[in-house]
């Protein structure tokens, strides 16, 4: 069942002369882990804003085509109605935390939805525990590191128990180890709670092993859309300048030199085991 479906989606920001996304038609199934990638300025963030109604309600501008999210046509609903279904974690964690303590911030969405206090307490504790920040609950956001803020931002959205979570470059302020940890949290949400995840990311080396659907955009258009191995291995991905995982790149280079591995690897572990097979064969 599709949770998100767009048809010929085209959007122009108010005052802009050129559309930021053009003719986007994609389908995202329930429970998928989608990685959305593409060069800077290609319209990834813009597309995410279309999924929870910020576009067109908050931004205005001209929207053509159709977006349906969790069975709701986006243009027919207010942002707060969509917020029950879609959670959006923004690029900059600092500006999405506005309470004086972590706990209060995580509760913000639930307070707005008028969830009862007992239920709220339960959900806040649950979200803090899953994201591994229980011990930070009393701190103020200013006293947290970038990685911790990032986790709080995820917890804030998670507490609202959305069907779909969209994370816009949630690791842009983190080192690789911190990024890895965040990806693991996201993966857990996807695999154990069945939340559909859309992850906007440049660092495909780390992120792609969790994905089962990759969408590549360029200049406002979707240029590749499919399962990770096929997408990463295509010539097009490399030409656009997508940071194809090194393991996949290695596969291609070996192929050019006449060494064929059994299948397309995405992670270095996979590449290593495939190489071992080849070495044994020779």
């Amino acid at each position: 069942m599709a949770v998100i479906k767009t048809r010929d989606l085209t959007y122009t920001y108010p005052g802009a002369t050129k559309a930021s996304i053009k003719d986007v038609s994609i389908t995202i199934e329930k429970g998928e882990f989608v990685v959305l990638t593409g060069p800077s300025g290609c319209g990834k963030t813009t597309l995410c804003r279309c999924f929870n109604g910020l576009i067109p309600l908050f931004y205005g501008g001209k929207l053509e085509g159709e977006v349906v999210v969790a069975g709701c046509k986006v243009v027919e609903h207010s942002i707060y109605e969509l917020a029950r279904h879609v959670g959006l974690v923004f690029q900059n964690p600092e500006n999405q935390l506005f309470a004086l303590s972590v706990e209060k911030d995580v509760a913000f969405g639930l307070e707005n939805l008028a969830v009862s206090r007992d239920e709220m307490r339960k959900r806040v504790d649950w979200a803090l525990q899953i994201t591994g920040i229980e011990d930070l609950s009393e701190r103020s956001p200013h006293e947290l590191s970038g990685g911790q803020q990032q986790r709080v931002a995820i917890a804030c959205v998670l507490a609202m128990q959305p069907d779909v979570m969209i994370l816009d470059e949630p690791t842009s302020f983190l080192d690789p180890v911190g990024a890895q940890k965040i990806f693991e949290v996201i993966n857990e949400l996807n695999k154990e709670l069945g939340i559909t995840v859309i992850l906007v990311e440049h660092r495909l080396d780390l992120a792609s092993k969790y994905a089962n659907h990759v969408i590549v955009m360029d200049e406002g258009k979707v240029v590749l859309d499919g399962e990770p191995r096929g997408v990463f291995n295509s010539e097009k991905a490399r030409l656009i300048g997508v940071g194809v995982p090194k393991a996949t790149r290695l596969y291609q280079i070996l192929g050019e030199n006449g060494i064929r591995l059994g299948r397309v690897p995405v992670t270095s572990e996979e590449a290593a085991s495939l190489l071992r097979e080849v070495l044994k064969r020779d």
């Binding site: 600092e94 506005f98 004086l100 209060k104 307070e111 707005n112 009862s116 103020s140 200013h142 804030c156």
Partner: protein
């Protein structure tokens, strides 16, 4: 940025910090009213000592002394103003007398009591507690939210201001140059990026609020509730007693000046 240090609340906990902010505010108001009722020195001296146990119990002596030191400058001005003004405005200029001195001192002390009670309140009430109290006093949620968010972003903006200042200085901006007007103008290259940054930040904030169902229901719920505890009832009761006593004394007891007291 020492200027903003005072806004940076520290999460401390004491009996006083845990008191209900509404009751504490009522207590401060009683102190206020009492200070306004009396214009003689002896009751004001007594009044000055009333908040001191609170300061000590809360363990905020250091901050309290700092804020009183800040008020000292104004206190001196108020004293001089009263002294000189009353001296020249009497119809038959007398020599500066002891009673004139006492009256000016009383005015000054009244000001200090007002500052003191306010600072005790703000030093022992965390902003989120205060925001919560506002919310539960039926202040529209938008105002409470604006208040807590402003407090949240003060340290962030202070850091940003520092960064911009360093960056502009590195490009050769000289802040401490020239006469007064020139110096004010020197701050423009710091203010503009700061304001632009704040506007961008506020847009991102609005976006994040919308995405988390801002405005979804008329009647929001709240993670916390303020409940009056025994200590709160005690303080409220004490404040009422103090108010009654003060009004009674003011109405029926002739309050002596310090001079007559000393002469006895």
């Amino acid at each position: 940025m020492s200027m903003f240090e005072g806004f940076r609340f520290r999460r401390v906990s004491s009996v006083i910090h845990r008191l209900d902010p509404r009751v504490k505010f009522f207590f401060v108001c009683v102190l206020f009213v009492t200070a306004i009722l009396f214009s003689k020195l002896p009751p004001l001296i007594l009044l000055f000592f009333v908040p001191l146990p609170f300061v000590l119990a809360a363990g905020v002596q250091r901050e309290w002394i700092r804020s009183m030191r800040g008020a000292l400058f104004f206190a001196v001005i108020i004293f001089l103003f009263n002294f000189v003004f009353t001296y020249f405005s009497t119809q038959y200029p007398q020599l500066p007398s002891a009673s004139l001195l006492e009256r000016s001192l009383a005015m000054t002390l009244r000001f200090l009591v007002l500052v003191e009670s306010f600072s005790v309140f703000f030093l022992t009430t965390s902003p989120d507690h205060l925001g919560l109290a506002l919310e539960q006093s039926h202040v529209p949620y938008e105002f409470c939210f604006a208040f807590t968010t402003a407090v949240r972003f003060v340290p962030v903006l202070a850091d940003e201001a520092q960064t911009i200042m360093d960056a502009q200085k590195a490009r050769g901006l000289e802040l401490e140059r020239g006469n007064f007007l020139k110096r004010v103008r020197n701050y423009i290259p710091i203010l503009i990026p700061l304001i632009v940054g704040a506007i961008r930040r506020s847009l991102e904030l609005a976006e994040a609020m919308e995405s988390r169902a801002w405005g979804a229901s008329e009647k929001r719920t709240n993670l916390y509730v303020l409940k009056l505890k025994n200590a709160d009832y005690l303080l409220a009761f004490g404040s009422v007693l103090m108010l009654i006593f003060a009004v009674y004394v003011w109405r029926y007891v002739p309050v002596p000046t310090l001079i007559t007291l000393l002469r006895l």
